[in-house]
């Protein structure tokens, strides 16, 4: 019978809650007032703008700023979609993605979707220079200044040895979606190193962060623009200089990576849709420093991407206005 009493008690509590709730009825109703109206101040002609967001903070910064401007200046409804590159490109054909804002090379994908399926169209450079290469933590470059020349790397190879590198020095590579020639470089430059794949950008950054903090020996693949460089300013190692065509044969590469002009792509449909968002994407350009500032707001200062974009846009109105012309 104890059980019955419990149930009765539960019922009584419930009724009391109900009474309280009814007494407390009041306050604003959903849909009242301004909540539905703001955010659509511009002209209605833009419609929905589907923006792919690839998984690195620099791209997040691009997307945040473009989305902010599209929403606030053009009155678009922006849908940001978090996708890996390969899948984002797929989305051009199915109409689920309108624009990709930061493409690193990916000539294979261009061949497949721009010239092959013709679902994607190039929309010009972002103004960002993509630099890829081998980097060491600042303490190391300071303690051994000659380490930034590849010719001296073999001298230090033993110092870079880890449990993973099988007796050689370890050259740490990151996410598999990175563009890399490192295995060929190690072989062709006759370096006493082994490429070890960390497997993710997170792992790579954590390795450099730890190396700087504990003065450990780490050399690895990295790139700029990248927010992490504002936390730990890694130093680039000089490889034999890049010349046009020196990376033509993937097996025989023995030179540094070229400087990439990062560029934008849009879906073929979007390009001819007459949407003002397309003009915005086409006109959008900024510098590595610009991107690093926004990326730092997001990654280090932990602002939301939207707040970070707002902060930057308000401080750089002139640049933004140039995109809107």
């Amino acid at each position: 019978m104890a059980r019955q009493a419990e149930h009765l008690r539960a019922g009584a509590v419930g009724v009391a809650v109900l009474a309280l709730a009814l007494a407390g009825c009041g306050g604003a109703k959903v849909g009242d007032g301004s909540s539905g109206a703001d955010g659509s101040s511009g002209s209605g002609s833009c419609g929905t703008f589907n923006l792919a967001v690839n998984p690195w903070v620099g791209y997040e910064a691009d997307a945040a700023v473009v989305a902010y401007v599209a929403e606030h200046d053009l009155g678009c409804k922006v849908t940001q979609k978090d996708l890996k590159e390969e899948i984002a490109w797929q989305g051009f054909g199915t109409g689920e993605v309108d624009a990709i804002l930061e493409n690193w090379g990916h000539d294979d994908l261009k061949k497949k979707y721009v010239t092959g399926q013709k679902t994607a169209v190039e929309a010009g450079p972002t103004g960002n220079k993509g630099i890829i290469g081998w980097y060491v933590p600042p303490w190391l470059a300071k303690a051994h200044p000659d380490i930034t020349d590849w010719k001296n790397l073999n001298k230090y190879a033993a110092k870079f040895r880890t449990s993973e590198s099988g007796g050689k020095g370890q050259l740490l590579d990151g996410d598999p979606s990175y563009v890399t020639n490192d295995e060929a470089l190690v072989k062709n430059l006759k370096l006493d190193f082994k490429v070890v794949y960390a497997g993710s950008e997170t792992a790579l950054i954590q390795a450099f962060r730890k190396a700087e903090k504990n003065k450990e020996w780490v050399i690895g693949y990295f790139y700029e623009p990248q927010w992490f460089l504002s936390e730990v300013p890694l130093v680039k190692v000089e490889l034999p200089p890049y010349e046009e065509g020196c990376d033509a044969d993937a097996e025989k590469v023995a030179c540094d990576y070229p400087v990439y002009d990062l560029d934008k792509l849009v879906s073929a449909k979007f390009a001819t849709s007459g949407s003002p968002a397309y003009d915005l994407v086409k006109n959008f350009t900024w510098t590595n420093d610009d991107q690093n500032v926004v990326a730092k707001y997001i990654a280090v200062d932990k602002l939301t991407p939207e707040a970070a974009a707002k902060k930057w846009v308000e401080a750089n109105r002139a640049k933004v206005d140039a995109w809107l012309k």
Binding site: H7, A10, V30, V57, K84, G91, Q117
Partner: protein, 664 residues
């Protein structure tokens, strides 16, 4: 009782014929095989190793690529797409969108979903009470309120919407299929390999094709989740139907019941409790997919975890991970309680029925009022507060992580280097530097010794197919780490399991931690582990141990507890000390459980191979991740996924056959 994705493989202990023809001891045979291997390794080292560089492809890999491209190119004209995949997508999409608009996303011109937090909390409490009891109702209310206090209300509701839609869709065909497999041996045999495949194939492998078939967005995410969440429900339903005593069914049939009647009136009601357990496991599996599905734009908590990882923000990732754990624990306890109630209701009849009905009615009325309030008023619709709890949790997690990193990393480096140099490297060298045919022969021989002739044949087929994937060398590297991880899992599992099995108090204290370790997305603890152990194979091993040890521990604890009390008492009376009792009585008698624990431990470790690829384990895990990231490596990633499945099938069959022999 467990928040686990347990795969009840060994649930059907078909007693294998006991073989006792030859009397050569098994340990001796194993020693001979290993001895021969070592000798031949010394002679043949470095020959026929079938290694393949990171960027190299085989013909098979290229062929997979071409198929993939061909599908992508004609998806707008192919009738299969127009009339089949697109229709499926439409139905699933409608379902998900409907649930999302109900609880998580703004809908129909409203800035907020139809039912706000107060309504959802009320509903959760009421439903939990109605299907379970007031205790789990309280837990549900507290848990859901906590999600809001964390500042992650909307994300949590998105995750809940996706989980519910996926589980509903999965059950829609899992239960009929399960029942079918339960009544027909043939169907059961046909289904089994498919279920194995669905559960061991790394999710990363089919994420990209899924978006090709079902486009980007919640529909694809839901379908990916369905693929992973359906097998446990099918297996457990089949098991439930199978374990209804035959006599009962025969009795019903002799009373003139038709097959249909026997099914509906006898089999299903009697197996309801176990079927609910299947639902429970389905939900847990669905929640395990939350972070992975976020990679194809699934909304919810997974997205928060993945985004936080990009800037190595452990606190935020942990915070969202904790919400997933809380949701899992609530859903687990509620469905478990529902299972118990189903049982109790069947047994006890209608003693409380008279009171129950009016109370249920009153509860429903109150809930409706809450739902109405949350639909109408902002205060009841939008969770109040700024998520202060979440911020304190995040900063506490950050502080703790930092402390551990700063104070333990010297120690952890020593442990890592000792284990890597002493155990992992030699073992891996032995596996990767021996000729492939030698390792293959050893695997087949060991399979036969441990599991009998059929297991040996399975091993031979798997070895052949592994060579066919073109990734033999990578598979062996992965195998080395996997086996080392499994050994660690078993050491931990036996130690903890015996302790838990011998003391109910210890069990109650440790179990929640085990549950949490299994449901917490691995992505969350990768960053601290990376700080402790660097980007190495060892980090991957530690992550796998964290994920797999709880299952092994629970099974061992269960086995130890099932040793009859009378036996233990007799041994104690005969003067056995605690240590003797454990090693001479409890562990030997729990041998079946130990083998099953090894089986499950190994399968769980294998399911972490891909996560390991993200933190420096390389090999198959890296191949899978690379295939997901780069178009030209797609086929190689697919082949790597297949290789993982093959390793899984091989070891599952061998350990299961071994388990049957030891328990027979």
């Amino acid at each position: 009782m467990t928040a686990v994705v347990e795969k009840p493989r060994a649930a059907d202990p078909a007693p294998a014929p006991v073989r006792r023809e030859r009397r050569i001891g098994r340990p001796l045979l194993v020693a001979v095989i290993l001895g021969v291997w070592l000798v031949l390794f010394a002679v043949l080292r470095g020959r026929h190793t079938l290694s393949l560089a990171a960027a190299d492809l085989t013909g098979l890999h290229r062929w997979f690529n071409d198929v993939n491209d061909a599908i992508g190119a004609d998806r707008d004209s192919n009738p299969l797409f127009l009339y089949f995949f697109n229709e499926i997508r439409l139905v699933v999409d409608t379902l998900v969108t409907f649930v999302q608009e109900l609880i998580s996303q703004p809908s129909a011109g409203r800035p907020l979903p139809q039912i706000g937090w107060l309504g959802v909390v009320g509903l959760a409490g009421y439903v939990s009470w109605a299907v379970g009891n007031w205790r789990v109702a309280l837990l549900a209310v507290a848990g859901f309120t906590f999600l809001g206090l964390q500042g992650l209300w909307q994300e949590s509701m998105d995750t809940l919407a996706l989980t519910l839609s996926a589980v509903l869709t999965a059950l829609l065909f899992a239960i009929p299929l399960g029942v079918w497999a339960g009544v027909s041996d043939r169907v059961d045999r046909i289904l089994k390999p498919f279920l194995d495949f669905m559960q061991t194939m790394p999710t990363f492998v089919y994420l990209a094709p899924l978006t090709l078939f079902f486009l980007i967005g919640p529909a694809s995410a839901t379908i990916a989740t369905v693929i992973y969440a359906a097998p446990p429900a099918i297996r457990i339903t089949a098991h439930a139907v199978r374990s209804v005593p035959e006599a009962t069914v025969e009795a019903a049939e002799s009373l003139g019941a038709t097959r249909r009647q026997a099914l509906l009136k006898v089999l299903l009601p009697l197996s309801r409790r176990t079927v609910i357990l299947g639902v429970n496991q389905s939900i847990m599996a669905a929640l395990a997919m939350v972070t992975i599905a976020a990679l194809i734009d699934a909304p919810g908590l997974g997205k928060t975890v993945v985004q936080a990882l990009q800037s190595l923000d452990v606190g935020t990732a942990f915070n969202a991970g904790l919400s997933i754990v809380v949701m899992a624990i609530v859903l687990d306890r509620v469905t478990t309680a529902a299972g118990v109630r189903a049982e109790a209701a069947r047994r006890s009849g209608s003693r409380f029925a008279a009171w129950r009905r009016p109370l249920l009615g009153a509860g429903a009325a109150i809930t409706l009022v809450l739902v109405y309030l949350s639909h109408t008023y902002v205060w009841a619709a939008e969770f109040p507060g700024e998520g202060g709890v979440g911020r304190s949790v995040a900063s506490a997690a950050d502080t703790a992580t930092l402390w551990v990193q700063d104070h333990l990393s010297g120690l952890t480096n020593t442990v890592r280097d000792t284990l890597t140099e002493g155990l992992l490297n030699p073992f891996q060298t032995l596996l990767t530097d021996s000729p492939w045919w030698l390792v293959g022969a050893v695997l087949v021989a060991l399979g036969t010794v441990f599991g009998g002739r059929r297991a040996g044949i399975t091993a031979a087929v798997c070895v052949g197919l592994l060579v066919g994937t073109g990734l033999w060398s990578d598979a062996m590297t992965t195998l080395a780490s996997t086996l080392v991880a499994t050994v660690l899992v078993m050491l931990l599992g036996v130690a903890l399991g015996v302790w838990m099995g011998r003391s109910a108090l210890v069990d109650r204290l440790i179990r929640p931690t085990l549950d949490a370790a299994q449901v917490m997305p691995p992505f969350v603890y990768l960053v601290p582990f990376l700080a402790l152990f660097g980007a190495t194979r060892f980090t991957a091993i530690v992550a796998a141990v964290v994920y797999a040890a709880p299952v092994a521990t629970k099974i061992v604890a269960d086995g130890v507890r099932q040793v009859p009390a009378a036996t233990v008492e007799a041994a104690t009376a005969a003067g056995c000390g605690t240590w003797q009792l454990i090693t001479k009585v409890q562990l030997p008698m729990a041998r079946g459980a130990l083998t099953l624990a090894t089986n499950q431990g190994l399968i769980y470790v294998l399911s972490m191979v891909v996560v390991g690829g993200l933190v420096g384990a390389g090999a198959l895990g890296y191949d899978v991740v690379a295939g997901f990231s780069q178009g030209q490596l797609y086929g190689k990633g697919l082949a790597a996924g297949l290789a993982i499945v093959l390793l899984g099938v091989m070891f599952d069959r061998i350990t299961q056959a071994a388990a049957r022999r030891t328990s027979a």
